[in-house]
């Protein structure tokens, strides 16, 4: 057998700390063959991103790698920077986990994409632009001709992620490293992006290393799965085998924690048992609505003299006391916009927005102050929403200080540690800075911060997108506990329908700034009325490779898109022949 595309052999990554080098990952080994998709799954913070970044030596300074990394037969660990640079982008492309901070805020996504395109190929500026627009179209960016000239901060989370993906695949690499590439995408777009990757894989013989916590995605695309925990590989096998008969205890736990859309999770109580405020009728606007939007329009101002962008086109939405409302919908449909408006970060242009008894239409500053005592938010992008100069402990407990709830510094620290524990982060890390955490860990800091104040209403914008299913399950439990204990209400934005199903009392489906459908969770998710909702549900991946294969066959119309391992070897041989 010829050598695989990527071989990682007993790779350990070490970080420099106050007292010497500290190992983060231990003897990680796995291979990726051409045309093969390997999924790297596992606990949040187990070292997946670190391992992925170490391949191209993209780790932050103060780190070192021990072990062997071979790409295409050649050792890349000791390769001089100049040689590695040849590989970067051209032969190995990377999609980073957090797209907001991964894009330079001062360039349009177009110019960053064009720079990527032109760094490896001779292209005229005009050609590159055309190609860039094509690529944006490929990743289902709406109105690519326009979006190409937008700056990252003008895009929704999912749009940024797609820009990032477009950049990575622009060079048609031999190996694609995708770190949580679809966390911010709704399931339809996710499916399309995955199709795109598979299509490329088929066309180029590309190897894919995908990091994801979404077992549905794993089942859908992966040939093999590498499971990591605590910096070590605990299991590594074929996808079907993993789902059928997981060998390791941890893997079993992981799979057990996966919520299935349409099947009430065993971990959680059924939705009928979900606590709900008495006398709540779903269809009409409740008198005790905690959050209520009436015919609300939200517009982003245009640049210079150009017209602005109307992100929300007059919607009615309400969250009543003790209720968790799932907000799902297309990426870029305005979910985050609603969330930001609800906490007063965005002014609404028309209509009304009430939080509890306060009208926050217009510029009611005093109302805002009152509002913020009771409302908290988990931001979609954990990296950019944490102050890089505050330790995570401070980040969590600062709101307590601001509200005057807890003025004693020592007690705040203790409280932060409790909260850290609740989101399953080592309380000893209270003095770490955000950049010292993994993506999922940062996300949990955001959650801990949001629950710290015992809010009446929480806006949770994709709060679990970067969490592995077991941590996710705990977080969801936490939400439910809170709902029960303090009767808190929540607008829960997510693209993960199964999560929404497990948690939400009601679901609102949003598309292009308009509500397509809303109603009780069971009804919307099991008996959807709107076509879009049906479409959405159909596209949600199921954590079962066999089901997924069938669905994919149905969708793409033929079975041969994914090639078995035998044929991979065959193609690899011929390719090898061409190359020599």
């Amino acid at each position: 057998m010829t050598h695989p595309l990527l071989e990682i052999d007993r790779l350990s990554v070490e970080f420099r700390t106050g007292d010497g080098w500290k190992r983060i990952t231990h003897d990680v080994s796995f291979d990726v063959a051409p045309r093969e998709t390997v999924a790297l799954v596992g606990e949040s913070g187990s070292g997946k991103s670190v391992t992925a970044m170490s391949i191209l030596d993209l780790l932050p300074s103060g780190t070192r790698r021990v072990g062997t990394i071979r790409f295409d037969g050649g050792d890349v660990l000791d390769l001089p920077e100049r040689e590695i640079r040849r590989l970067r982008g051209a032969r190995i492309a990377t999609i980073f986990q957090e797209p907001m901070t991964a894009l330079n805020p001062v360039y349009t996504i177009g110019s960053q994409l064009i720079a990527a395109l032109r760094s490896h190929r001779e292209l005229s500026a005009a050609e590159a632009r055309t190609r860039a627009i094509e690529l944006l179209g490929d990743v289902h960016m709406p109105a690519p001709e326009e979006m190409i000239d937008h700056y990252p901060h003008q895009l929704s989370g999912g749009q940024r992620q797609r820009a990032m993906i477009a950049m990575a695949i622009s060079s048609e690499p031999a190996l694609l490293i995708a770190d949580e590439p679809t966390t911010a995408l709704d399931v339809t777009v996710q499916a399309e992006i995955l199709d795109l990757i598979i299509e490329l894989q088929g066309r180029l013989g590309m190897g894919v290393l995908i990091i994801t916590h979404d077992m549905g995605v794993v089942a859908d695309v992966a040939d093999r799965v590498v499971v990591m925990k605590d910096g070590r590989v605990v299991e590594s096998c074929e996808t079907e085998q993993l789902f059928r008969a997981p060998a390791e205890e941890y893997t079993r736990e992981l799979l057990a924690a996966v919520p299935h859309l349409g099947q009430v999770s065993t971990v959680l109580t059924s939705s009928s048992e979900r606590p709900r405020a008495e006398g709540v009728t779903v269809e009409t606007a409740q008198p005790d609505a905690v959050l209520r939007m009436d015919d609300t329009v939200i517009r982003y101002p245009g640049r210079w003299r150009r017209p602005g962008y109307q992100a929300i086109n007059g919607i009615d939405l309400s969250v009543s006391h003790g209720e968790i409302v799932g907000l799902v919908g297309e990426s870029g449909s305005g979910k985050s916009t609603i969330g930001r408006a609800a906490v007063g970060l965005l002014p609404i242009s028309e209509g009304r927005l009430r939080v509890r008894d306060h009208e926050i239409t217009g510029r009611g500053r005093r109302a805002l102050k009152e509002l913020r005592r009771n409302v908290s938010m988990v931001f979609q992008d954990p990296a950019s929403s944490l102050n890089p100069r505050r330790t995570i402990g401070q980040a969590i407990s600062d709101p307590l200080l601001w509200h005057g709830t807890l003025r004693d510094a020592h007690r705040r620290r203790t409280r932060s540690q409790e909260l850290l524990e609740q989101v399953r982060i080592d309380p000893d890390w209270v003095d770490r800075f955000p950049h010292e955490l993994s993506g999922g860990q940062r996300q949990r800091i955001g959650i801990a911060r949001a629950i710290a104040t015992d809010p009446v209403l929480m806006i949770a914008d994709e709060p679990t997108s970067a969490l592995d299913v077991s941590v996710q399950a705990e977080v969801l439990n936490l939400f439910r506990d809170l709902q029960r204990e303090i009767g808190f209400s929540c607008l829960f934005i997510s693209h993960d329908l199964s999560v929404v199903e497990t948690l939400a009392n009601r679901v609102v489906v949003l598309r292009r700034g308009e509500v397509v459908e809303q109603g009780p969770a069971e009804q919307v998710l099991r008996r959807p009325r709107a076509d879009y909702t049906k479409h959405l549900i159909a596209a949600a991946p199921v954590p079962d490779p066999i089901v997924q294969r069938r669905r994919r066959e149905k969708r793409t119309g033929h079975a041969g898109l994914r090639v078995g391992t035998e044929s991979v070897e065959h193609i690899h041989d011929t390719e090898e022949g061409h190359r020599s």
């Binding site: 906490v343 913020r372 409302v375 908290s376 931001f379 929403s385 600062d398 709101p399 601001w402 509200h403």
Partner: protein
């Protein structure tokens, strides 16, 4: 360098005890004695005053002026800039336009002259004049940085979590714009010493015969071609001091940068 700053502070505190001579005592027969001469380690100036003693006493004057002025500029400027950058509209107009731009619009020399004539010569005037003159740069830097940083999501987050505006400004934004401000702090110390020297050169500095490094340099310049030590000695002290503050500033900057923490 920290050692140097420490030594300097000690010298400043104990100059009257440590200095071998009275810094204003003239001895015209021993004028412009070169360094390393018996009795005058660093030589004497054009009036035969012991340069070592003057440098030592001068440290007091200089640090008082330079640090005082720089602190004034830092506080005043940063406050104006950050507040102006954070709030748009009328606040911005008042801080950045009415105050900062107006100060900037006045040529320094006119401002210094006004200060000197209105408040008389001396250290306090210099602190006021140099402080006010240097404040706009802090303000502009703070302003520019604040404009960028206030759009960061973590600032939104702080606001969303109900941080009172002063907290958003001083606990969230300020630390994130601190790096260039710290650098500007050490730059301004240098600038203040230079400005003091320049003003002395133009006759607007400290009241003679009080020793200040700036006025020593300004005086010494007249003997550049014949007795360079009168310039070089205080000049070297100024260089080392500025260097020390520069390094200190850089170190502080690096210390406050969480990502750079592990570098050293």
């Amino acid at each position: 360098m920290a050692v140097y700053v420490l030594v300097m502070l000690l010298v400043t505190a104990f100059a009257p005890v440590l200095a071998p001579y009275d810094p204003i005592e003239q001895n015209i027969d021993a004028r412009l004695v070169p360094p390393l001469s018996p009795g005058h380690l660093l030589g004497t100036d054009e009036l035969g005053r012991d340069i070592l003693s003057r440098v030592m006493h001068g440290a007091q004057v200089e640090l008082f002026i330079a640090l005082g002025a720089t602190l004034l500029a830092l506080v005043l400027g940063t406050l104006l800039g950050i507040v102006g950058g954070y709030f748009a509209g009328i606040v911005e107009t008042i801080t950045m336009r009415l105050i900062v731009d107006v100060i900037l619009a006045f040529p320094p020399i006119v401002l210094a002259l006004l200060a000197v004539t209105l408040y008389g010569q001396g250290a306090t005037t210099l602190i006021l004049a140099i402080g006010v003159l240097s404040a706009p740069l802090f303000a502009r830097i703070a302003y520019g940085q604040t404009l960028s940083v206030k759009r960061e999501e973590y600032v939104d987050a702080a606001r969303a979590f109900g941080a009172p505006t002063p907290v958003v400004i001083f606990r969230t934004i300020l630390p994130n714009i601190s790096a260039p401000i710290i650098v500007q702090f050490s730059l301004t110390i240098a600038a203040a010493i230079l400005l003091e020297s320049g003003l002395s050169y133009l006759g607007l500095g400290v009241v003679p015969p009080a020793p200040s490094w700036g006025s020593m340099v300004a005086q010494g310049q007249r003997y550049l071609s014949t007795d360079p030590h009168a310039l070089l000695v205080p000049g070297a002290v100024v260089v080392v001091t500025i260097l020390a503050f520069g390094i200190l500033g850089d170190a502080l900057r690096d210390l406050l940068d969480p990502k750079a923490k592990k570098r050293s």
